[in-house]
């Protein structure tokens, strides 16, 4: 039996300890905000925070996060009003929206590490998150907006 802490809540897992954190939160816990996009850390759709750092849940196993704090999009802010979430809405960022939870988690982690990123730093930090609809300009602007106060 493995015990992990997700969005502040203790969770037990008695299955395969190598199961990826992504399928664990999605299929076993029903936290479906974290998305599957590629399974190989190429696209960032599954990005969550582990101890306040952006992590690709698809290549992280459940056993890897024992004793750590995992935050998914559902746990980013109690009322969904994190500065990044508000900026996203103000800038009307999403098209299909599927990659956006991962984008938001990546951006939130970036702002913890670097509260005032330059546009180049934003483009660099967000380059691991693919948006096939092509919302990049708005993502860049929304991260900038979140960093300057919404």
């Amino acid at each position: 039996m493995i015990k992990v802490k997700i969005n502040g809540e203790e969770r037990n897992w008695d299955g395969d300890p190598d199961l990826s954190l992504m399928w664990f939160v999605r299929d076993e816990l029903g936290l479906t905000g974290t998305k599957y996009g590629c399974g190989q850390a190429f696209c960032g759709a599954c990005t969550v925070m582990v101890d306040k750092q952006a992590v690709r849940a698809c290549i992280t196993s459940v056993s890897d996060v024992v004793g750590r704090e995992v935050t998914t999009i559902e746990g980013l802010h109690p009322s969904g009003d994190h500065a990044v979430q508000k900026a996203w809405r103000q800038a009307n960022v999403p098209q299909c929206g599927y990659c956006q939870a991962g984008q938001i988690m990546q951006a939130a982690a970036l702002l913890i590490e670097n509260p005032k990123p330059s546009h180049d730093q934003i483009r660099d930090a967000m380059a691991g998150n693919i948006c096939r609809c092509g919302c990049y300009q708005r993502i860049e602007n929304a991260v900038h907006l979140a960093s300057t106060g919404v």
Partner: protein, 778 residues
């Protein structure tokens, strides 16, 4: 994303019948219109040629879509006693904003307050809701008027109910912002108070119900309304196909034949069954190629979660029979296409005498362009949940074709349509892939067999390897110039496997809807034009990809414009406008079965005045001819598709190591009357990213019949650090009665040629083969 005459097989016969009839009618009326309006002389430069009055009662092709259009407020609108108005969204949301924009049209006309409107997604049921195929960039153009009529009918029923309640003539009352007002007496009643009475009113004649004057619009054309799913998306509660969970649901992944047309011979599940969490391994039925939208078949692994199912699949030992396409190989196939494009092919448009004109030309410029297969790679790979029980099926799936999915599930399971419910989730991207419901059929077959709810999840590798790919093509254009540098001859041969091959064995010529996307509808004013379509065979599943055949055709035609500008030492924009020629309605009577995006030519003719105008508009707004830093270049391209007119300017540079930077993109779009300019802008911004993806990296290749790429490492798409630094979208203002046209797809085709023309301006290097890849490296 176009699903016209070749689509689900059972719809084919109806559609062909209707289509032929329509063509006949169109041709007669088109001629009469041309007689009245065809003389272009005397019109102002760069103004639309069609008179606005001609559009007053425009017709669309909505009626020839399967199940046509249903215009009934009782089907689409419900008002609760508390005043909440629920409006049904019957089209699928894949990121275009349609789930917001169509209900917004209803709310506009019925004078509902948007903050008191709820949008509810309709299930797949075309008998009830009319056609639901969300493709072809046609939701707004087919539904602007029907949704207005529905809203106006609801408004008039509310007004009638209030007038009766007060005992006053209906002419004295008026619906204003969620209430009906009798101004003479100052009385008011909210929509909620009137709901029950209004529901008893007869539905007025939708053809004669009075629509609002566009100058009174509160929402339409303003772009101030965010999409209804915006908040849910940002907090992780938006519900996509992959997010459906049912009690007792099991998770499945499927190993499919690696070669199109291949078959399962045998499998050994011993190791797979030992994987923790795996519960069952079983064969999935496949259909012989060409299998339309039916599953490819293979071996399914069913588990307690998706991760276990994938691990179990990795442990399977499978023997496949690869079948007839085992030798499909991209390098050899390219040579085949080039060979085909260098010989005469089926003539699909002929004006004047191209052979003679090319022979007499002072110079002939030839361009041969190659564009490879592309995968859709929507961020959400195909996925579906099915619960088949007691002879009934319920499906939850991200499908662009809710009605078609229902029909196909019913047929596959051998049950009536009425026993199938298709719940339409949000789509994590579509781009035409999700017009094909094979993944929902797989889930339905497995659930029927196992008697429990099943989710079938495609991995990214499945998605890339078993896609209905965008075609691969060689486009060859020969342009003959006279001594003065005027283009007097144009021959375009387009050699590409056809989407029709996915539906009919051996189909080897383009369907009319493919010919109509940038080949036979080429708008240039040239005396001798010939378009040819050589015969080529397909060796994999070909399908609709956003913008479809317009991608290779616009690339070839607009690259050739750049080559002609270079050959004659002229400015690209000047060359482009000279080729477009005078403002006129292009006469395409020489084209048999002309396909005009399914629209009557009368309402949506090729109006070169509008095409010229977008070129001039983008040139002005985007600063064509501006001085750019050393090493930078500007490129321009324009293309009409999905009956909209688009022009794009790209500023690009290439450094000494061959690194490409896109500094600025400006795109002008004339899509007629529009509902939500903010979403049009986002579609066109996104088109620049998808255009850059396909220009720079996009390529699916085959070896031994197998796709060589499998994930985003091999099939690369643009990331933020390579994205254009600035993208500007300029929506061309139009008169309020201009018919709406497409916005989801037409932004894509002109991007790549504008980029390639910019690269030429910056470096003197002409790219004729996509993707660019390493071609710019010294």
């Amino acid at each position: 994303m176009i699903m016209n005459i070749i689509t689900r097989s059972d719809r084919l016969a109806d559609r062909l019948g209707g289509f032929e009839e329509r063509v006949t009618v169109e041709k007669i009326s088109r001629r009469s219109v041309l007689k009245g309006l065809g003389i272009a002389g005397g019109l102002v430069l760069a103004a639309p040629v069609m008179s606005r009055q001609a559009f007053a009662a425009y017709q669309t092709g909505a009626g020839i879509m399967p199940h046509g259009t249903v215009v009934d407020p009782k089907v689409f609108v419900a008002i609760a006693p508390d005043g909440i108005v629920t409006i049904l969204a019957h089209r699928a949301e894949m990121g275009t904003g349609v789930r917001t924009s169509l209900p917004l049209i209803v709310a506009e006309e019925m004078e509902a307050d948007w903050s008191r409107v709820k949008v509810k997604q309709a299930p797949g049921d075309e008998v009830k809701y009319g056609n639901q195929d969300t493709d072809g960039s046609r939701s707004t153009r087919h539904y602007l008027i029907p949704m207005r009529q529905i809203g106006a009918s609801a408004r008039s029923m509310l007004e009638a109910a209030a007038a009766k309640r007060w005992g006053v003539p209906v002419s004295e009352v008026k619906a204003v912002n969620h209430e009906v007002v009798h101004s003479a007496s100052g009385r008011k009643l909210g929509f909620g108070d009137l709901a029950a009475d209004a529901a008893k009113e007869a539905v007025p004649n939708v053809e004669t119900v009075k629509l609002k004057d566009p100058k009174d619009f509160r929402y339409l054309g303003k772009g101030q309304i965010s999409t209804v799913d915006l908040r849910d998306i940002t907090v992780g509660t938006a519900h996509y196909g992959s997010d459906t969970r049912l009690p007792g649901m099991k998770y499945a992944v499927i190993a499919r034949p690696p070669v199109t047309g291949g078959k399962l011979v045998s499998f050994d599940a011993t190791a797979a069954m030992k994987v923790s969490g795996v519960e069952k391994v079983m064969e999935v039925k496949g259909w012989p190629w060409p299998s339309k939208f039916q599953p490819l078949g293979g071996v399914a692994v069913i588990a307690r979660n998706t991760g276990a199912a994938i691990k179990g699949r990795d442990a399977l030992k499978i023997v496949w029979d690869d079948g007839d396409n085992a030798k499909y190989e991209s390098v050899a196939y390219r040579a085949e296409l080039e060979d085909a494009a260098r010989k005469p092919g089926l003539v699909v448009r002929k004006e004047g005498d191209v052979d003679a004109a090319l022979k007499s030309a002072d110079r002939v410029i030839t361009g041969e362009y190659y564009l490879p297969h592309l995968a859709h790679a929507s961020m959400e790979p195909p996925v579906a949940v099915a619960n088949v029980k007691d002879g009934k099926a319920e499906i939850w799936a991200p499908v662009q074709s809710p009605g078609g999915t229902r029909e196909d599930v019913a047929k596959t399971l051998g049950i009536p349509d009425t026993d199938v419910t298709v719940n339409v989730t949000l789509l994590g991207g579509g781009f035409g892939r999700k017009s094909k419901c094979d993944f929902a059929l797989e889930a339905a077959l497995l659930s029927k067999e196992l008697g429990v709810p099943i989710k079938v999840q495609w991995t990214r590798e499945d998605d890339i390897r078993h896609d209905f790919l965008h075609t691969v093509s060689v486009e060859r254009i020969e342009a003959g110039l006279d001594k003065a540098g005027k283009v007097i001859a144009w021959r375009h041969r387009s050699a590409a496997p056809t989407i029709a091959s996915t539906f009919a064995a051996g189909a080897s010529h383009a369907a009319s809807f493919e010919l109509g996307m940038g080949l036979v509808d080429m708008p240039f004013e040239i005396a001798n034009i010939q378009c040819e379509n050589p015969e080529v065979k397909a060796h994999t599943r070909i399908g609709w990809f956003r913008s479809v055949s317009n991608i290779p055709r616009a690339f070839a035609v607009q690259s050739m414009v750049g080559e002609l500008a270079q050959a004659t030492n002229r400015d690209q924009k000047t060359m482009l406008l000279e080729l477009i020629g005078s403002p006129r309605i292009v006469n395409l009577d020489s084209v048999k079965d002309l396909w005009n995006y399914g629209e009557p030519y009368d309402s949506y003719p090729i109006d070169t005045g509008r095409l010229r105008r977008v070129v001039e508009y983008v040139a002005e707004k985007g600063g064509w001819g501006r001085t750019v830093p050393k090493g930078h270049g500007l490129g321009i391209a324009a293309h009409r598709s999905f009956v909209s007119y688009i022009a794009t300017i790209v500023e690009a540079s290439v450094d000494e190591k061959g690194k490409l930077t896109v500094h600025q993109v400006d795109t002008a779009i004339d899509c007629g009357t529009f509902v939500n300019p903010e979403r049009i802008q986002s579609q066109v911004e996104g088109a620049a990213i998808m255009g850059l993806s396909l220009a720079k990296h996009g390529e699916i290749t085959f070896k031994d019949g197998r796709v060589q790429q499998s994930n985003f490492d091999g099939f690369r798409v643009i990331r933020m650090d390579e994205a254009p630094l600035v993208t500007n979208v300029h929506i061309v203002p139009v008169d309020a009665d201009t018919p709406p046209s497409g916005a989801g797809e037409p932004g894509l085709p002109p991007f790549a040629p504008a980029l390639i023309n910019a690269i030429f301006a910056a470096t003197g290097k002409r790219i004729r083969s996509l993707p660019i890849g390493k071609q710019l490296e010294a």
